[in-house]
C-alpha cells in the first residue's frame, strides 16, 4: 500500500456529516409538555392534600428546576448521538501513558449488574451482606499478595484519594511517634504525577522536589541532601513516569527509612510488574493501586475508579474505617458461610484509625469488576499480563526507533523501558516545525488516540506511550506506521499537522477563550 493511500484527508474543505451537525443540548431539545417518566399516584388513604399543608411554603421551591422536557426516544437518540462524538477504547489503540488503557472485559459488567451486588443497600446489616464482605476481604487478600504488603483497605475512591489517605496515614504514624510537628516535608521526584504534589498540599505538607539523574531515576545525591528529620514521606512510582525501573530502589527506600520517613508507592504503573516485583519487597510502606488501570475497571470517560491502599505492619493501626474482618466461626456448617463470617469494624475496634475517607464501604461495584478480573487471570495470568505489557511497549519502541520516528522522536532517556516509554518531539520541532500537539492532533485523523502529551514535565515536547498488553502486534504496527506517515507528510508540508485534525466531529477548539470567558452551564433564559 502506498503512503498516499493510507493517509487520511488533510483538508476540512468538505465538512463530514458529523461536522455539519450543530451540537444541540438536551435542554435545547426540550418541548413543554413532553415527558418520559410516569410517576405513580401516592395511593395514600384519604387522597392527596396540597403539598404546602405538609411542608411550610417558605421551605418550598418558588419554581421547578429547569430540567428538560423530553420523551424516552428523544433521550436515547440524544445520548446515542453524543456517544458517537466520543472516541473509545473499543474503537482503536489508546496508548495514553500512565493510564493503562487495557481492554475492559464485559464479563465484569455482567457480574457487577447482578442484583445481589447492584441493588445491595450499603447500610444492610453485615450478617445479610456476607457475600459482599467476603468479596471485599478476598480482593484485599489478592491485592496484599500482589503488592507484597500485609494489610489492605479498599476505601479510597481513586488514586489521588489513596495518596491523600497515605499522607494522612503518614501523619498519624509520625504523630504516634511524637514527630508530627517536626516532619513537614514530603519528597516527590520531578517526574511525579500531578496528583502527588496536589495531595501533599491537601494533607498539609510541603512539597520538596527531588531531581532525576541521567538514567531517568532518582538522583541519589539530591535525595540524600534533601532527606533529613523534617521529611515525613517520599512518594515514588516505580517504574517511574518515564517507564524506567529505578535500579537504586532498595537504596532509595533505605535512605528515607533510615531518616525516619514513610515510603509511599504510587501504583499507577503497577501494570508493569505484577507477579515480577512487589512494592512491599522494594521497601515501601504504603501503596495505592488503581483498579481502573491494572485491574480493568472501565475508565468511564473520567471515572469511576478505585484506589485501594496496601500497607506495612507499622502503618496498619491507622488504616481508615470501616474495615472488614474475617472471623472463624465455631459453629461451621451453617451453609451460608462455611467456617467463617465477615464483620465490618469501626473506630471502636481500631482506636488509632485516621477515620473515614468517604461514605459507606467504598466503590464496591468497582471491586466486583476487579475481583472478577483477578479470578479470570489468576496469579499466572497477571504475571503474563505484565510480561505482555512490557513486550508490547518494547516492541512499539523498537518500531519507533526505525525510520523517521527514530530521527524526529527520539527516546528521552535511552534505557530499556518497561510498560511505557517517553519520546521527545523536540527534533521534530526543530527540523520539521511541528510540535507534539500537532502529532497528537494528526493521529486523531488516523482514528487513534494520541499518547499522553507534555508529560512528564522534565522531557521537552514529551509523548508518553503505554500500549498495554491487550493490543495486538498489528495494532502496534498500525500506530508506528501512522506516526511514520505523519512525519513523512510533515517533511512535505508541516502545515498539514499544524492544522489537524480534519475529520473529527469538531476541529481544534478555542481553549484559551473558554478559560478567559468560562461558560460552564447553559443559560436557560
Amino acid at each position: 500500500m502506498s503512503e498516499a493511500s493510507v493517509n487520511p484527508p488533510a483538508t476540512a474543505a468538505v465538512p463530514t456529516p458529523m461536522q455539519r451537525e450543530r451540537a444541540t443540548t438536551i435542554f435545547e431539545r426540550s418541548v413543554p409538555g413532553r415527558r418520559a417518566a410516569a410517576i405513580p399516584a401516592s395511593g395514600v388513604p384519604g387522597g392527596d392534600v396540597p403539598i404546602d399543608e405538609l411542608i411550610p411554603p417558605a421551605l418550598l421551591r418558588s419554581r421547578p428546576a429547569g430540567l428538560p422536557e423530553v420523551s424516552e426516544p428523544e433521550i436515547v437518540r440524544h445520548y446515542t448521538r453524543l456517544s458517537r462524538r466520543n472516541f473509545d477504547l473499543d474503537s482503536g489503540i489508546y496508548p495514553l501513558g500512565s493510564c493503562t488503557m487495557k481492554h475492559n472485559p464485559r464479563l465484569n459488567e455482567r457480574v457487577a449488574a447482578l442484583p445481589g451486588h447492584a441493588r445491595l443497600h450499603p447500610a444492610q446489616a453485615p450478617a445479610r451482606a456476607q457475600g459482599a464482605l467476603e468479596l471485599i476481604w478476598s480482593l484485599e487478600r489478592s491485592l496484599s499478595e500482589i503488592c507484597g504488603l500485609p494489610h489492605v483497605s479498599l476505601l479510597p475512591s481513586a488514586g489521588s484519594h489513596g495518596e491523600l489517605a497515605g499522607l494522612l496515614l503518614t501523619r498519624a504514624f509520625h504523630a504516634a511517634g511524637g514527630e508530627a510537628e517536626l516532619r513537614t516535608r514530603v519528597l516527590t521526584p520531578d517526574t511525579a504525577h500531578g496528583t502527588n504534589p496536589a495531595s501533599v498540599t491537601m494533607a498539609g505538607y510541603e512539597v520538596v522536589k527531588v531531581a532525576t539523574n541521567d538514567e531517568g531515576g532518582v538522583d541519589l545525591d539530591d535525595l540524600r541532601a534533601k532527606t533529613d528529620e523534617r521529611v515525613a514521606c517520599v512518594m515514588l512510582t516505580n517504574p517511574n513516569t518515564l517507564g524506567l525501573f529505578d535500579r537504586n530502589i532498595a537504596e532509595i527506600t533505605g535512605i528515607v527509612r533510615d531518616a525516619g520517613g514513610t515510603l509511599y508507592y504510587d501504583g499507577a504503573n503497577l501494570n508493569a510488574i505484577m507477579g515480577h516485583s512487589r512494592p512491599g519487597d522494594m521497601g515501601f510502606d504504603i501503596v495505592h493501586v488503581n483498579l481502573h488501570k491494572s485491574f480493568s475497571q472501565p475508565h468511564g470517560g473520567g471515572g469511576p475508579g478505585a484506589g485501594p491502599i496496601a500497607v506495612s505492619d507499622r502503618i496498619e493501626p491507622y488504616l481508615p474505617v470501616p474495615r472488614v474482618a474475617r472471623v472463624e466461626s465455631g459453629d461451621a456448617g451453617n451453609g451460608d458461610a462455611p467456617g467463617a463470617r465477615f464483620e465490618l469494624r469501626g473506630a471502636s475496634d481500631h482506636p488509632e484509625t485516621i477515620g473515614r475517607l468517604r461514605g459507606f464501604q467504598g466503590n464496591f461495584g468497582v471491586f466486583v469488576r476487579s475481583y472478577a478480573y483477578i479470578l479470570s487471570l489468576g496469579g499466572d495470568g497477571l504475571a503474563e499480563a505484565s510480561e505482555t505489557a512490557v513486550l508490547n511497549a518494547n516492541y512499539l519502541l523498537a518500531r519507533m526507533r526505525e525510520g523517521r520516528a527514530g530521527r524526529y522522536l527520539p527516546i528521552a532517556f535511552d534505557r530499556r523501558p518497561m510498560h511505557e516509554f517517553v519520546l521527545s518531539a523536540s527534533p521534530a520541532g526543530k527540523e520539521l516545525g511541528i510540535k507534539t500537539l500537532d502529532i497528537a492532533k494528526r493521529l486523531l485523523d488516523h482514528n487513534m488516540h494520541p499518547p499522553t502529551v507534555y508529560f512528564p514535565l522534565l522531557v521537552d515536547e514529551a509523548l508518553m506511550i503505554e500500549p498495554t498488553e491487550t493490543e495486538t502486534r498489528e495494532s502496534l504496527d498500525g500506530f508506528a506506521d501512522a506516526v511514520e506517515s505523519i512525519l513523512a507528510e510533515a517533511e512535505d508540508d508541516p502545515e498539514i499537522a499544524r492544522q489537524a485534525p480534519y475529520t473529527t466531529p469538531v476541529r481544534r477548539l478555542d481553549e484559551a477563550g473558554a478559560a478567559r470567558n468560562p461558560v460552564v452551564r447553559q443559560d436557560l433564559g
Binding site: I55, P64, H161, G194, V519
Partner: protein, 458 residues
C-alpha cells in the same frame, strides 16, 4: 492463559527479534534483590463461566433490595432507575474512554458534563457546578478545603444534623488541611440556631448543615446563612438531590456551596458505590472549584464545542498549588445522573418529590401510631423519618428481616435508640402498612421477651 491478550508464541519470538532481546525476562530491567522469584500465591485463572458462577454465588449471599422490602436510606436510596440509564452508560463510547483530554474526539462526554453542570446548577440554585466528585461525604470535605482557601481561616462549625459519615470524613480530612471542628446540636430535630450563633466566630471558615438533615428534618437555611455570613463564614449545605426538586434551593436561601451524594439520581446502590458527589457554588468560587468542569467554546471553523475549562485549577497543571488533588472522578455516574434527570424531566422531578412527601407523611402517621414508638422530632420532612423506641434495635431489625423487611438504619447513640426509615417511590402504601405491622409485632415481642435493655444500641 487469558483471552485478554493475543500474542502467540511465534509472534513473541518475532517481536523479541525486532526488539533485539533473547527473552521477555531480559526486558525486565529489575535488580535481583527486588525481583519476585516465585509465582504469586493466587489461584489459577478460571473460565468466564466459572468466574460468573463464583460471583453469582457471592451475590446470592446478600439480601438486596430485590430480595426484601428496603426502607434503608441515610444517603443512598432504593429508587427505580429506568432501563435507558443502563442502556446508555453501557455503550462503549461512554464506558471505556479516559478523561477527555483530547476534546476533538471527546465531545460526547464533554457535552454530557456541560449538561450535567447545567442540571445541577438548576437543582441547587447556584451558578457553578463541577462535573462531579467521588461521592457525598468526601464532597463535603472538599467543600471544607475550598472554604479554607477562600477565607484563610481554619475553623469549621458543623451541625449535628449532618450525616455522621460526612462529619467523620470531614474530621479525617481536617487532620490534614488542618482545621478545627466545633459541633452544634439539634433542637426539635433541626440545628439549634442559638447554639449556632454562639459557636460561629470571626475565625470560622464555614458552617456545615444538611438539607434535609440526617434525621430527615428540613432545615431552614436562611437564618443559618445569615449567622454564617455575619461572621464572614461560608455556608455549606449537603443536599439530597431528589429533595431539591421541591425544596427552596440552597442558592436562593443563601448557601455558598451545595454538595451531596448523587446516588439517588439514577445510580445503583452497589453496596455504597460507585456513585458521584456533586459540588455547586457561587460565582465567587469559580477559581477554587474542585473537579473537572466542562466549558462551551468554538472550534477553528466556528462550530460549537466543549472543552475542559479552568484547567489551571487542576493538579495536572498546577501541581502543589492545585485547588484539589482529584483526577479520576465519577464521570460515568454523573452521566447516569443526567440521563435520570432527563427521564424525570421538569414535571417528573416535582411529582416524585411530592409523592415522597405524601407517602412519608403517611408512614410517619402509621409508624408513630404504634405503641412504644415516638417520633424523634416534629419538623417537616421530605422522605425520611426518625423514630425512637425502647427496645434493642438489632433485635427489632432481625425480626423485620425475618419477615422480608429491611426496616431502617440504626440511628446510633448520638440520636437515641431508634431507626431512620426512608421512603422511595418504590415503597408502596401497602409496604408501609406491612412495615407498621411487622414493626409493631417486633416491639411487642421485644417487650414480651423481657430482653429490654434500655439504651442498648447497635
Amino acid at each position: 492463559m487469558s483471552g485478554y491478550t493475543s500474542v502467540t508464541d511465534g509472534e513473541r519470538r518475532e517481536m523479541l527479534a525486532t526488539i533485539g532481546a533473547a527473552s521477555v525476562d531480559e526486558l525486565f530491567d529489575v535488580p535481583a534483590g527486588v525481583r519476585l522469584d516465585r509465582d504469586l500465591e493466587l489461584p489459577d485463572g478460571l473460565t468466564e463461566a466459572e468466574v460468573y458462577e463464583r460471583l453469582r454465588d457471592l451475590a446470592a449471599r446478600n439480601a438486596d433490595a430485590e430480595a426484601e422490602v428496603c426502607f434503608l436510606g441515610a444517603g443512598m436510596y432504593d429508587h427505580y432507575a429506568p432501563a435507558i440509564v443502563d442502556a446508555i452508560v453501557s455503550r462503549s463510547e461512554f464506558l471505556t474512554p479516559y478523561t477527555p483530554y483530547q476534546p476533538e474526539i471527546s465531545q460526547g462526554g464533554l457535552q454530557a458534563m456541560f449538561e450535567f453542570q447545567t442540571a445541577m446548577s438548576e437543582l441547587t440554585g447556584l451558578p457553578l457546578a463541577s462535573a462531579g466528585l467521588y461521592e457525598g461525604p468526601s464532597a463535603l470535605a472538599s467543600a471544607g478545603y475550598l472554604a479554607i482557601g477562600a477565607t484563610k481561616r481554619r475553623r469549621f462549625v458543623v451541625s449535628a444534623g449532618v450525616n455522621p459519615q460526612s462529619r467523620e470524613t470531614l474530621a479525617t480530612y481536617s487532620g490534614g488541611y488542618p482545621a478545627a471542628i466545633a459541633e452544634v446540636g439539634l433542637r426539635g430535630g433541626r440545628t439549634d440556631l442559638d447554639a449556632l450563633a454562639d459557636a460561629v466566630d470571626g475565625e470560622t471558615a464555614a458552617v456545615f448543615v444538611q438539607y434535609p438533615n440526617f434525621l430527615g428534618a428540613i432545615e431552614d437555611l436562611e437564618p443559618i446563612a445569615r449567622i454564617a455570613h455575619a461572621a464572614g463564614a461560608l455556608l455549606i449545605a449537603a443536599c439530597d438531590p431528589i429533595a431539591l426538586g421541591i425544596l427552596r434551593t440552597p442558592g436562593e436561601a443563601g448557601a455558598d456551596i451545595a454538595v451531596g451524594e448523587g446516588q439517588p439520581l439514577g445510580n445503583r446502590l452497589d453496596y455504597g458505590g460507585p456513585s458521584f458527589g456533586f459540588f455547586c457554588a457561587t460565582e465567587a468560587q469559580i477559581r477554587r472549584m474542585p473537579g473537572r468542569i466542562a466549558g462551551e467554546t468554538t472550534d477553528v471553523d466556528g462550530r460549537r464545542g466543549f472543552v475542559l475549562a479552568l484547567q489551571t485549577r487542576e493538579q495536572h497543571i498546577r501541581r502543589e498549588k492545585a485547588t484539589h488533588n482529584i483526577c479520576t472522578a465519577q464521570a460515568l455516574n454523573a452521566l447516569a445522573g443526567m440521563i435520570y434527570l432527563s427521564w424525570l424531566g421538569r414535571r417528573g422531578l416535582v411529582e416524585l418529590g411530592e409523592l415522597l412527601v405524601r407517602r412519608t407523611a403517611y408512614a410517619r402517621e402509621r409508624l408513630t401510631a404504634i405503641a412504644g414508638v415516638e417520633p424523634l422530632h416534629d419538623a417537616p420532612v421530605v422522605r425520611e423519618l426518625a423514630i425512637g423506641f425502647d427496645a434493642p434495635v438489632d433485635a427489632v431489625l432481625d425480626h423485620c428481616a425475618a419477615h422480608g423487611i429491611a426496616a431502617g438504619v440504626p440511628l446510633g447513640e448520638e440520636h437515641g435508640n431508634g431507626l431512620l426509615v426512608a421512603i422511595t417511590e418504590q415503597r408502596t402504601v401497602a409496604q408501609i402498612d406491612r412495615l407498621a405491622e411487622v414493626l409493631a409485632a417486633a416491639l411487642e415481642q421485644a417487650a414480651g421477651s423481657g430482653k429490654r435493655t434500655a439504651g442498648a444500641i447497635a
